[in-house]
Symmetry: D2
Subunit: 350 residues, 4 copies
Amino acid sequence: MTPKTMNAIVKTHPGPGLALREVPVPTHSPNEVLIRIRAVGICGTDLHIEGWDAWAASRIKPPLVIGHEFVGEVVSVGQNAQHIRPGIRVSAEGHITCGHCPFCRTGQGHICQTVKIIGIDRDGCFADYMMMPADNLWPLPDAIPDHYAAVFDPLGNAMHTVMAAPPAGKSVLVMGAGAIGLFAIAIAKASGAALIIVLEPNEFRRNLAKQVGADLVLDPTQPRVEDLIRQQTLGLGPEIVFEMSGHPSGFRQAFRLLRNGGHICLLGIPPGEVPLRWADDVIFKGATIHGISGRRMYDTWYQCQTFLLHNRLTIDPLITHILPAAEFQRGFDLLKEGKAAKVVLRWGVE
Amino acid sequence: MTPKTMNAIVKTHPGPGLALREVPVPTHSPNEVLIRIRAVGICGTDLHIEGWDAWAASRIKPPLVIGHEFVGEVVSVGQNAQHIRPGIRVSAEGHITCGHCPFCRTGQGHICQTVKIIGIDRDGCFADYMMMPADNLWPLPDAIPDHYAAVFDPLGNAMHTVMAAPPAGKSVLVMGAGAIGLFAIAIAKASGAALIIVLEPNEFRRNLAKQVGADLVLDPTQPRVEDLIRQQTLGLGPEIVFEMSGHPSGFRQAFRLLRNGGHICLLGIPPGEVPLRWADDVIFKGATIHGISGRRMYDTWYQCQTFLLHNRLTIDPLITHILPAAEFQRGFDLLKEGKAAKVVLRWGVE
Amino acid sequence: MTPKTMNAIVKTHPGPGLALREVPVPTHSPNEVLIRIRAVGICGTDLHIEGWDAWAASRIKPPLVIGHEFVGEVVSVGQNAQHIRPGIRVSAEGHITCGHCPFCRTGQGHICQTVKIIGIDRDGCFADYMMMPADNLWPLPDAIPDHYAAVFDPLGNAMHTVMAAPPAGKSVLVMGAGAIGLFAIAIAKASGAALIIVLEPNEFRRNLAKQVGADLVLDPTQPRVEDLIRQQTLGLGPEIVFEMSGHPSGFRQAFRLLRNGGHICLLGIPPGEVPLRWADDVIFKGATIHGISGRRMYDTWYQCQTFLLHNRLTIDPLITHILPAAEFQRGFDLLKEGKAAKVVLRWGVE
Amino acid sequence: MTPKTMNAIVKTHPGPGLALREVPVPTHSPNEVLIRIRAVGICGTDLHIEGWDAWAASRIKPPLVIGHEFVGEVVSVGQNAQHIRPGIRVSAEGHITCGHCPFCRTGQGHICQTVKIIGIDRDGCFADYMMMPADNLWPLPDAIPDHYAAVFDPLGNAMHTVMAAPPAGKSVLVMGAGAIGLFAIAIAKASGAALIIVLEPNEFRRNLAKQVGADLVLDPTQPRVEDLIRQQTLGLGPEIVFEMSGHPSGFRQAFRLLRNGGHICLLGIPPGEVPLRWADDVIFKGATIHGISGRRMYDTWYQCQTFLLHNRLTIDPLITHILPAAEFQRGFDLLKEGKAAKVVLRWGVE
């Protein structure tokens, strides 16, 4: 039987820090289901919320249960969600879209203008239980283990990015090897990228990049990096860039290096404004730029699941830590110190 | 018989101004043909060269016959161009590509890195005669009159831009109604754009924009322009933007106004660097940006010809002046004063 | 107040014919709304059901209220459809999809394998009232008159077909000028098709084809038709074919005529099997073939509405008859005699 | 120094058989180069010519040097081919296109209507020396060994087929595992296909299919094959079919199995006419069909080279035999007996 209260990781007030608190178990509305959480992933966004940066201060309204990457089991369903069978294991799309706008009605829910995100705009998944609209559920086959299922959300960001410029037989530059950048490397490799070059300042992440398929991994602070990249790409630069860093100087470098006629997919979020030499780096190049936000609903989810089910993706090395939920602070600290890629917290599964 | 010398409009030395001079008629190499010019168009680029701005000073090596938009007749052919029949009327692609690089060998000659442009990197068409590689010729059907044939080059820039984001049934914003912007309006209208909004500060051009198919033409210096555009586009902004101005503030405005999931095609060349709010105006929007350079060889040429042959394009009002070549200075002045859209010079055709 | 019974056009038993009957007004389930019908369109499918051909005999389970093209007003809403405001004027997508299969979850509901179609698999719209799932509603702006709104369904079939191979600047051959073929001509014209050739044996329809934008309309029973078509298309054949006839010999002709590299969109349903010379007519040509079914949900609906709202489509001549519902049999007869294109029945609006 | 005569494998007269003959070394025209052959591949087309089937009888005009898959060295160049350096190692595109038609001028030379094919319409490469237009040459990096370089032509057919429906993360069915079908399996695997199912009656080829990446290889003559395929593909059928067999019953089966919304690429050439149930197997499915002919010039060549240079393709097991040219008849026999996939003949390289 579902208890009345539960443990949750809560942003209790405006300001840095998170606390493990006992809070009421949510009760679901007719279109929703209640999920018992089994495992969650810690995202860079969660670090922003924990650290209470300018973005967090402007967006988050405490108290809030944070977290948006998860796997769990459906424990009960609302009256309009009777097609969902309690007991099934699920992850879910954390972007809750309006369903009625022109974007939602044409298969583009990922750019719905009134989206609500779990763990940001409403209570999230770092808790024993969470509510989700039935439409957002992603039922999972048994063959997908919990620690993979818990990271479908960021894996999906990477999948959305890579599928916007399919890399089979092409040279690829990945800017930034954070968790999503690393997932993108694994996906690009599995999708037939002929050459994968990675720029990443953190050595720990550079080593992971190599493990999941990068051919050449460079520290951007070293000299002659651009020469080396051009040398490896017929003197023409990479045909595809996946910009996963959001770092302004990396951002500009990505455009500078891109081959004529190339594609650049932008997932990393640069702060403020970034200037570009549009004439030389975009227009005369005949470049194509793709802004990438969220995950395609639900094309991206099918893609992630299919690659995993058929053992095409090497992501095991990227889930660097699996910790009990109670040790969440250690997970946050490891990530802040650049000593982890993806940290998964086991939740309520003894 | 071909004479030994000819009249030509020449940039005689570094610095402002152009001169009508008598120069030798060029002799063709084996792969080239000699063309007697019938009519030419004056491009914005020619104005830059005439005025000798920073770009011109860095790129142009006088003495140079300028001009790259033309129609003429083949008068003689090189030994490797025997498949060209002397006497045929032609225009030509003015971008002379290497033919051997990966871009050229995959149908992307428009982004060849060693392109030479007539009237810029080698002698151009503002002359009684000009040489062209046989491969660049565009033989013209009789039904295309000279003043249309003379402007296939800029019409092709506009066609390339519009075809990169086909506007049938969509809302379109055109930034800037210079000659190419105006051509783009006519093409977008002919291609089924549902709504065409134009931002242009010059009243003369705004009137032309209406004549060739714009639904709503606005002066960007007026207040509440952005509100008005959003109002006309369901509050969501235009689905497609054709950026033909190169003006930094217009450039930024274009990205701000673009609808989520929209496409923006960049043809106008902004000077130096332009900063952008990438997060809000590109990434979260899921926008797609297309850098547009030159014309597709020769898809764009077929498209221009087909639209014209079947009378689908309204471009007559845009060829605002047809002058004798000797009055070229008046043509340049009209353009500089914003009192003309496209000026065609009749050349050697009594 | 909603009455208990209503008039409806009913297939009362297996066999030819239809009857106007008094039947109970349906009561809606929680996810549905009740609509009072204002006008309906008669489709070729309705003629098959009326005439009780082999397809109808295998698919239709009488008694059944037929009809699937309509416009009406919402009169009441189910408890889960409270976001729909009673009184609004709507049409609706008549394909009721499962919502949960891989097709539905990736924006491809038009190929859902368990679709139910109104007027075929459940009661339809030839009645005073009809029930529809709230998700299928298409709210209509005031500027769209009833007789246009009533035919969004077949107009959408045509839109889906044309948008699968956008015709701007291209030569198009339309096989068959029934109602949907005629809509396709109007849409292709509005979308910038450079040349529209139509093959249609019925003279009445050939005349309509000219009125809505065809450039050349031919009777396929006349001699030398294929020569004439090749002559008009540079000797190469049309770049795009919209196959709207389903006629086996027209079908084969379409493939024979198609230009190398061309696109052919198949909407017409040929009976049984049709053989093709695959080597010459598809493979060596490098042709692309698109099977077209239903309407894209809801891209197609937006496209139809946008074209109509901005007065880009000429479809008035195609709604050849607007009759009172009581005269439905005359509408059916006119269509069977080839003397009508689209017949609209006014329903319950005095 | 180039000798006056050479050895060549010649179809000497209409009728079955081939002969090794001494014939004059060809002399090149101004746009051509003379190539000394190092190795060639035997294609199924060569078997048709050897066996003198109906197609061969209608197309081939003896005497003819056959063969179109090769690698060699440039020994001398025509006066208009001075940019080619004698001594370089090359393969070449064997489809010699007109260069001037609308297809050639828009990057679609593979569907040029006046193409001439080496070894079919003019002398081919089964000889000590061969002439090729300079434009058709494909210069090879040292890292590509001769036995790979000799099969760029059929590898390119497979690449063209697979790249028409990129398989990353998708389920793929390959109909027929002849040499090109086997190459397609290797390419699909390298490009991230999630599941590759192969139907092939010959056991020798089925074993090769497994070696180069097929997940499930079935004998089409066994019972319940279709059930098994559906079972492996969520009950929905494969998302992509590569039809490489040309076998009429396989052809029909491919369409029957294809998933709704799927893509089918047709490379195999079915004889005569093949009937299809268009309604159920194409139209209601919303299927897309791609006719595939030749290789994209030269996109396909870059793709082949890139995959090979970066060691992404497993094709070694497919080059089952490398024989001296003098033993060509054994190569032909092995292929006819179904005991070889690709046979390479070493030519004049001691």
